[in-house]
């Protein structure tokens, strides 16, 4: 159990030990309730077939919402970034979860990301603008450039969230106001 827990992000050996002893000390029912919750949710969760965020059905609740602007798509690295942007209530389009950013050191190129899927969406969903909301670091910037070079020739407006976010930071940890301003102040990626 300690080995399993220590594989979770942010949990070292010591924290894993503490969690394990906590769960063993509590009434048996408490621990089993957690186990069942994990089993139920994990069993139901899949990825949305359109935007690739986590979903409990074929399409996620955002993709199913008819009030969202379907010609505006925000590209994010992971589902956690989508959650952060949703919290700001500043964005009313759809999303596309890329699954990371270009990073040769980690062996990640366009084929390891959902770039092909984005291209397919652009061609079938009449998208007008793509906002690239990858993390404000070197790899996130490079990914934005890459998508701009790929999509601009197809007549798509490609924008990048405004700087002002802490450089090298993670989008998911940015505060809501800063993030809202970054989206509002987005600028077209230049040729």
């Amino acid at each position: 159990m300690i080995d399993e827990l220590s594989r979770l992000p942010g949990i070292g050996q010591k924290s894993a030990q503490r969690l394990a002893f906590y769960l063993l000390k509590r009434p048996k029912e408490d621990a089993l309730r957690l186990a069942r919750a994990i089993e139920i949710v994990r069993g139901k969760i899949t990825v949305c077939e359109r935007c690739f965020t986590l979903a409990t059905e074929q399409y996620c609740s955002i993709c199913r919402d008819p009030l969202r602007e379907s010609d505006l798509v925000c590209v994010v690295e992971g589902p956690q970034d989508l959650v952060a942007i949703e919290k700001t209530h500043a964005f009313s389009g759809l999303y596309h979860v890329l699954g990371g950013s270009l990073n040769p050191l980690d062996g990640i190129g366009p084929d390891q990301l959902r770039v092909r899927e984005l291209l397919a969406r652009v061609q079938s969903d009449s998208i007008k603008e793509i906002i690239v909301c990858t993390n404000p670091n070197l790899e996130g910037d490079t990914t934005a450039m890459y998508l701009a070079r790929l999509l601009q020739p197809l007549g798509i407006r490609v924008t990048r969230i405004a700087s002002g976010l802490p450089v090298g930071g993670d989008l998911e940890y940015a505060d809501e106001l800063t993030l809202e301003r970054a989206i509002a102040g987005r600028q077209e990626v230049v040729e």
């Binding site: 270009l102 040769p104 190129g109 366009p110 070079r149 790929l150 450089v167 090298g168």
Partner: protein
């Protein structure tokens, strides 16, 4: 002044002081070799008194996790916060090769000053280094056969190299013009030689980095490394009409090297309004008595922490002398 034989732990103390500013080893040792073999953690606690203001830095180095840094008991989120608290000017025997040695020594010298001057500079240097690592790793995956699959990705990494190399080269060029008078002044102080010092930036890019990087692409793919950019540049220092690398005596080269380091110390004082602590690691073993004395005179007004195998010189007054043996202070 820390006095003791080799291996007595003198340099470890300088290492700890420097680590409190830059979070890395001055000897480029890996973290795992700094931490004792049979231990997972190592701790550094530094008290700083600056203009009557006290601050403390607590650093925990760990073999398994990232270092944690507390400044005045508040957790620091960025390593650059440490540079705001405290900086140092380090002299090592290797610095004496600054003139004679490879171009990387001179690039590192400029970049170290830039990093100390502003967080923007520091980030620009890091972004360039990261772009370069990313591009070089990418080049290792590319062959002349599979090239077409990678062309779009390589294009964007090239754009980043162009962007950050250009930024860094401009920062270095501006620094050189500000730094030259400082070097000239220091050189005159320690040698009494009054000669014009001129520094030119020797760029690996002749004219247009975009075109030249594109021209070099095939070569870069074959050699699996980036052959032009800020990481291939150098500076050329002349003294009067003499080229410092080829036409100066060893003694003059060493004096010039020390002038470069002293110039760094003074430009940081002038621009940051903060006085770096001087760390002298075992340099006297490499210098003759006259140069040693001149160097000590120049740093006499500043706080300096000096290591030496023997008590070297008669002329200077030492505030506190610590003898070290086998990692213990006597």
């Amino acid at each position: 002044m820390l006095i003791g034989p080799n291996g007595s732990g003198k340099t470890s103390i300088l290492e700890a002081i420097a680590y409190s500013s830059v979070l890395k080893s001055i000897k480029n040792d890996s973290k795992n070799s700094i931490i004792k073999n049979d231990k997972d953690l190592s701790k550094i606690k530094t008290n700083i008194i600056n203009n009557g203001r006290n601050s403390t830095i607590d650093i925990t180095l760990s073999k398994l996790n990232r270092d944690t840094v507390f400044i005045n008991d508040v957790k620091a989120s960025k390593s650059s916060q440490l540079l705001e608290e405290f900086t140092f000017t380090l002299f090592t025997p290797e610095d004496l090769n600054l003139i004679k040695g490879g171009p990387n020594l001179r690039r590192d010298y400029l970049d170290e000053i830039l990093s100390n001057l502003s967080t923007y500079n520091l980030n620009s240097i890091r972004q360039f280094e990261k772009s370069l690592r990313q591009r070089n790793i990418l080049l290792k995956q590319i062959t002349l056969k599979n090239y077409m699959n990678y062309i779009d990705t390589l294009n964007v990494w090239d754009e980043q190299i162009v962007k950050y190399s250009t930024i860094l080269v401009n920062l270095r060029k501006n620094l050189i013009s500000e730094l030259t008078p400082y070097i000239q002044k220091e050189f005159m102080r320690i040698t009494n030689i009054k000669r014009d010092i001129n520094i030119s930036y020797i760029s690996s890019v002749k004219d247009d980095i975009v075109l030249e990087l594109a021209d070099k692409r095939t070569e870069d793919i074959v050699r699996k490394t980036t052959t032009i950019g800020a990481h291939r540049d150098d500076i050329e220092i002349t003294l009067g009409s003499l080229d410092s690398r080829r036409q100066l005596s060893q003694g003059q080269q060493r004096s010039l090297a020390i002038s470069l380091k002293l110039a760094m110390h003074h430009i940081l004082i002038d621009k940051k309004n903060k006085i770096p602590v001087i760390l002298l690691d075992d340099v006297f073993s490499e210098l003759d008595e006259e140069v040693s004395n001149n160097l000590l005179e120049q740093i006499y007004d500043y706080q300096a922490i000096v290591t030496s195998a023997t008590k070297p010189l008669k002329k200077i007054s030492i505030e506190k002398e610590v003898r070290m043996l086998n990692g213990e202070c006597e």
